[in-house]
């Protein structure tokens, strides 16, 4: 994008002034290079979101933003129901509550290096990953309803997880307000054999070593030291979430005229929060969030089982579990007044700063862990929500490196075999059912994750705590 199209507020804050149908400005947090490298579509989509009814303050965009559908990936927007605010199925996306969890292991890099290949093989065999994979769990109707209400709590009740995990999951592992009755038979059918599966695309399970600590005090509170091993899982609500997204996107699009909402882009399909379809979507979407929370809890349980085989005294403790495709009711200060807002984060992480009431006691003085998935080769980061994130973007931060090249372009540039071999030379084992999938996810197809997190820190969204380097990556 041309930086001259923005009002530059500071080194990492770029503002699109309201024009035309925009009700509020759009604000992108990124450095000049990240802005220049972003697709023009990000500008267009950020401005389009600013036209939606009831939007509060601004349409925000995180430093890892790229061209999405309707909302940019990396978009954050809050809506006030009392001012005609809307909920948008496109603003949440198909993979409802797609997110990341990181588990501490108490192991050091040397422990994993001693069994690296065997551990990678075992994880690949036992974690269902990729298209066509099925989990060991088959849901019947009653179980599905219980799962859609209970989330991670449901998984733990069934023995697939540990109760101590709950305080380390957003919403304590169980999203309130889920309405299974609004989840269609087709969505249920899509999920019947998909519990405890990783999915495909950019979803993964990684065994990572801590390469660098940036904030010793917070790292200690998070239980992170240099050379420690952690396990990170990235996946979402699987077929159930995809189907809920598909069905409500269509329904909101068709209902749009009845609400008198003039859409600039059909993908922004939305409904007033205080409408029947809006409430129905919220109930179904929250059930989708619980599906994702249950799924990640089950996958965490599988990881525990496999690690216990290799390291009998090993104790995998959940650092945190974040979701990055959601719409949640949150209380935020707007011009000095607390308001209950419906905050959409589409490819953005909630990033509560120190003192937030929802954080467990051990984390509250420091802030919420913000887990940033990088690419297979470049590593990932653990950040902590900054005190200023609240005023900057409704307590939000980036969620990953963000793609720099399309899958299409990646496939033309790299061979999956070569990516696997090159990474193996650097000590990183990649296991995937598809070499083409690996090529599409090649490290250089992503933006520089370090540039993204530096921009997030400079913009006051989240601060760096630790950098992780991958040792084993199971790709779906």
């Amino acid at each position: 994008m041309d930086t001259n199209r923005f009002t530059r507020v500071d080194a990492t804050t770029w503002r699109i002034e309201p024009r035309g149908a925009m009700r509020v400005p759009a604000i992108i947090y990124a450095d000049a290079k990240l802005i220049r490298d972003m697709d023009d579509k990000v500008y267009e989509q950020a401005a389009n979101v600013a036209t939606l009814p009831g939007i509060v303050q601004a349409s925000y965009v995180m430093p890892d933003a790229h061209w999405g559908y309707g909302f940019p990936i990396g978009g954050v927007a809050a809506f006030d129901p009392d001012q005609g605010g809307v909920v948008s199925a496109g603003g949440v996306g198909f993979d409802i509550s797609c997110g990341v969890r990181t588990m501490l292991t108490g192991l050091k890099i040397s422990h994993v290096l001693a069994v690296q290949k065997s551990l990678a093989d075992s994880l690949f065999r036992q974690i269902p990953a990729g298209v066509g994979s099925t989990g060991a769990i088959t849901l019947d109707e009653i179980d599905t309803d219980a799962m859609l209400v209970g989330g991670a709590y449901w998984a733990i009740e069934h023995g697939w997880g540990e109760a101590r995990d709950l305080e380390r999951i957003e919403e304590a592992g169980k999203m309130a307000g889920a309405k299974p009755a609004y989840v269609s038979d087709r969505a249920r059918e899509r999920q019947r054999r998909e519990m405890g599966t990783l999915g495909s695309g950019n979803h993964y399970l990684e065994v990572q070593g801590i390469g660098e600590i940036f904030d010793a005090e917070v790292a200690e509170a998070f239980g992170l030291s240099t050379d420690d091993i952690v396990v990170t899982i990235h996946c979402g609500s699987r077929g159930l979430g995809h189907q809920i997204g598909t069905e409500f996107l269509k329904e909101m699009l068709l209902a749009g005229n009845a609400f008198g909402i003039d859409l600039i882009d059909r993908e922004l399909a939305c409904a007033p929060i205080n409408s029947e379809v809006g409430q129905r979507y919220l109930g179904a979407m929250r059930a989708g969030i619980n599906c994702a929370l249950a799924n990640r809890e089950i996958l965490g349980h599988y990881a525990r089982r496999i690690f216990a085989h290799y390291f009998p005294n090993c104790d995998l403790r959940l650092l945190f579990d974040v979701s990055h495709n959601t719409c949640k009711i949150e209380s935020h200060a707007v011009q000095g007044k607390q308001r209950e807002l419906f905050v959409h984060r589409k490819g953005a992480t909630r990033a509560f700063g120190p003192g937030h009431a929802s954080l467990p006691d051990a984390l509250r003085p420091f802030g919420q862990p913000v887990l940033i998935g990088g690419s297979m080769g470049t590593g990932s980061y653990i950040l902590v929500g900054a005190p200023t994130a609240e005023t900057k973007a409704f307590a939000s931060a980036c969620h990953g490196a963000g793609r720099a090249l399309s899958r299409h372009a990646a496939l033309k540039q790299w061979s999956g075999r070569k990516v696997v071999d090159d990474l193996a030379e650097r000590g990183i084992i990649i296991k995937s059912p598809s070499l083409r999938g690996v090529a599409e996810e090649a490290p250089d197809a992503y933006k520089d994750v370090t540039a993204v997190v530096n921009a997030a820190e400079q913009a006051g969204l989240a601060r760096r705590v630790a950098r992780l380097r991958p040792l084993i990556c199971i790709k779906g």
């Binding site: 790229h66 077929g239 995809h242 269509k250 399309s406 070499l435």
Partner: protein, 156 residues
């Protein structure tokens, strides 16, 4: 002329002989992928776009061993196209199948189709990624110089 371009850039058809063309292509999107089919009728363009959707998942041969019947209905052709792709995505997901051959009939805005395919064989098909849903982004069903095209971005 067959326009089956694996991983091709957007292909503009300017050749007047293209009136008789059928084919498909992928077009780039930052995070996801666009699918587009071409044909002498909307039904043919829809069939070709379905082949493009299968090619998002695999470049391996898919055998037309099992037949599945589907129907879709939507207020206009563009919304029908998204519905069609979403129906395919649903059938692929719940049946664990990939589809190789399509017979589409469109009357007004109602579509009836038979899909032929086979159960996914991970070793043989090496599926690269899973389509989550068809989007309204870059959605266009249109006739240009006698040739129909139908395309949109698919979230993967």
């Amino acid at each position: 002329m067959i326009l089956q371009q694996h991983g091709a850039e957007r292909h503009d058809i300017k050749d007047p002989r293209a009136v008789s063309c059928t084919g498909w292509e992928h077009f780039p999107h930052d995070a996801d992928v666009g699918v587009r089919g071409f044909g002498t009728s909307p039904a043919e363009a829809f069939e070709q776009a379905a082949l493009a959707l299968t090619a998002v998942v695999t470049h391996a041969e898919v055998r037309p061993l099992i037949a599945v019947q589907v129907t879709c209905d939507a207020p206009d052709l563009e919304l029908l196209f998204v519905d069609w792709l979403n129906t395919l995505i649903y059938e692929m997901a719940v049946r664990r199948m990939l589809f190789a051959r399509f017979d589409v009939k469109i009357e007004g805005t109602r579509l009836e189709a038979t899909l032929w395919g086979e159960t996914i064989d991970v070793a043989r098909h090496a599926p690269a990624c899973e389509p989550k849903g068809a989007t309204y982004t870059a959605l266009r069903v249109a006739q240009t110089e006698g040739l129909w095209s139908a395309g949109c971005v698919v979230d993967v």
